[in-house]
Symmetry: C2
Amino acid sequence: MKELKKGTISTPLGFKTNALNCGMKKSKPDLALIYSIVRAQCAGVFTKNKVKAAPVILGMKNLKDNHAQAIIVNSGNANCCTGKRGLDDALLISKSLAKELKLPSIDILISSTGVIGKYLPKEKIIKSLPKLVSGLGFNNAHKAVKAIMTTDTFAKQVAVEIKIKNKTVTVAAIAKGAGMICPNMATMLCFVTTDALINKTALTKALKLVVDETFNCISIDGQMSTNDSVIIMANGLAANAMIVENSREFEVFAGALKFVCLALAKMIVKDGEGATKFIEVNVIGAKSKKAASTAAMAISNSMLVKTMMAGNNPNWGRIPSALGAADVDFDVNKLVLTLQKKIVFKNSKPALKDQNVLIKSLKKKDINITANLNNGNFEHTVYSSDLTVEYVKVNMAYN
Amino acid sequence: MKELKKGTISTPLGFKTNALNCGMKKSKPDLALIYSIVRAQCAGVFTKNKVKAAPVILGMKNLKDNHAQAIIVNSGNANCCTGKRGLDDALLISKSLAKELKLPSIDILISSTGVIGKYLPKEKIIKSLPKLVSGLGFNNAHKAVKAIMTTDTFAKQVAVEIKIKNKTVTVAAIAKGAGMICPNMATMLCFVTTDALINKTALTKALKLVVDETFNCISIDGQMSTNDSVIIMANGLAANAMIVENSREFEVFAGALKFVCLALAKMIVKDGEGATKFIEVNVIGAKSKKAASTAAMAISNSMLVKTMMAGNNPNWGRIPSALGAADVDFDVNKLVLTLQKKIVFKNSKPALKDQNVLIKSLKKKDINITANLNNGNFEHTVYSSDLTVEYVKVNMAYN
């Protein structure tokens, strides 16, 4: 596997993109289009929130045939809590775009991100479709990655190249993140393009596996949004031997997909609203995978742990406290807690002699918390950020 | 029932108190003693955190006989995550105080609040015991209520008077709260004194019922601490006819206890670290009590809802989003959401025509959120606060 430092979602063969400002935001691009020149195998993982945005409902429906050819994405409005009108709006956009692209509308997916509970200014989008489509090209990916940003402070894209039986296959993706990350992805959009030739079950399985190990392992503020979507289009133009489940090629492809998604997931955490720290929470020695994951999320989501990190504050007692309050079976007498690789709690008592060393190491941007429950063989890692004054300021504002 | 505006925990007959600075904090009182002149019936509700502080472990043990005569409380150190040494320290303090008070040590309870993971400076406490005991009096309650404060900005005490078959009975309590409130009480200490004559089962039952309906219904930052304790001493000096379960007198007593605890619970929310708003979250029409309570807690604990309130931000879509992410069975099409008594979401779409009216009403200090799931007959209320820049600042610091 080779990372393509300058790769974009147009690096895999056959993917054109475009983006423009349709007037939902003041001036920056707010509407993006990702288009494959041939119909692509497609899979999606969507939010588990019971309140699903209209584009998510429509997307799940359109993806029942496991194919798509275009994804249109708007930022500035989530088209959520908008009832039948919201669904009608999404449908109208997909039909209008279908006409413009000369495709069946079922091959179009919509993604939206932004404020909840406001109707989509659909006229602005529809009016912009001819220009959006006519401008499609192989060199516009830099615009698309910017158009999907909301409170993100930097664009997020990753691309890698792999060999599938001597054929070169490329996997690339863009993502938007920032606030509301965790669990199960949150206001997070990710679009993956690949020219791999891969069958339906293999693509669906690879995406599910990878999302569980990447985007579902990050936490910014413990919220899961109504619009989260990770969508992959595989158009087969690399002309490799068909990738099927339970093969070495499947492992190679899933590995590349995981590399791309994990890199984006970590970027999302680093760009968490107001975040100044990147926190890796490892729970090891748990009785089950679920226990490990619940424990890691409990530590990651604790506002007291998050503020402690923002303040380089050595008050590590907040970590066992967060753990003890979670629905996880463990014995505090067996718990070994390390912070920045230093054991701070063991045998049910403080284990650190020189607190100044800890205080110094907490000033680093990268924080590691490892809790060994000594209770079994399962482990889980969550990537998280700190809670800062800036986070509160960003979210006090209406955006 | 009559509220005694100037009542203290020394208003019920036979309760002496004292407080002083033992040197754990710079100058403000950090050690309090509550003492009944006769051995009292006693009940306690303690944290459900699996990581329990030493005083909680000892207190649960000493309360097995349902009696106590004195409670000693220190602030500044939680004596938690301190292993066998922490337990030995707590035991030594209770034995030293027992000697001073000429009581069996099993009749002494200890409560601690403060930083986790540091050994208790027990010498400072033990050295102060003679002075603490010799200063016991009926007019020191104002000192005791201050000594249990940590980041609280005001002292919290309530007292009421009731009639039990023509005898006057008084119920009074003090509490400390501030950070880390919810669910199941969090770093919350509450001490109730009453001169009621009440039997063991009635007292235990009344306390459990009332704690579930008061302290367990508040949320500040979604954390549950290692030291939470609500303890009631009933010394019987009112000489009323013994209160037993399933009687009218039980209802009167439990009603008084609820009044006192609910008033303190609300004060704790109002005094949440950095809080500027008092938020009442009502979930109605739920399928079960558990569903109602999970839903209300999910809304109350959402960092996005909390920051929204801090900013008088009308972004109500964050409420259905928080609800949809919770483990609660409901249909978004039936959900009716009101904010400040105005319907903002109904029939799966926005229901408010004039958003300016909402923005104006959100500027009030008291916020009401009501979510009708239209799914059953159960309801639950949670009292909550907003998330402000000040909260983050307070908790970034090491305290």
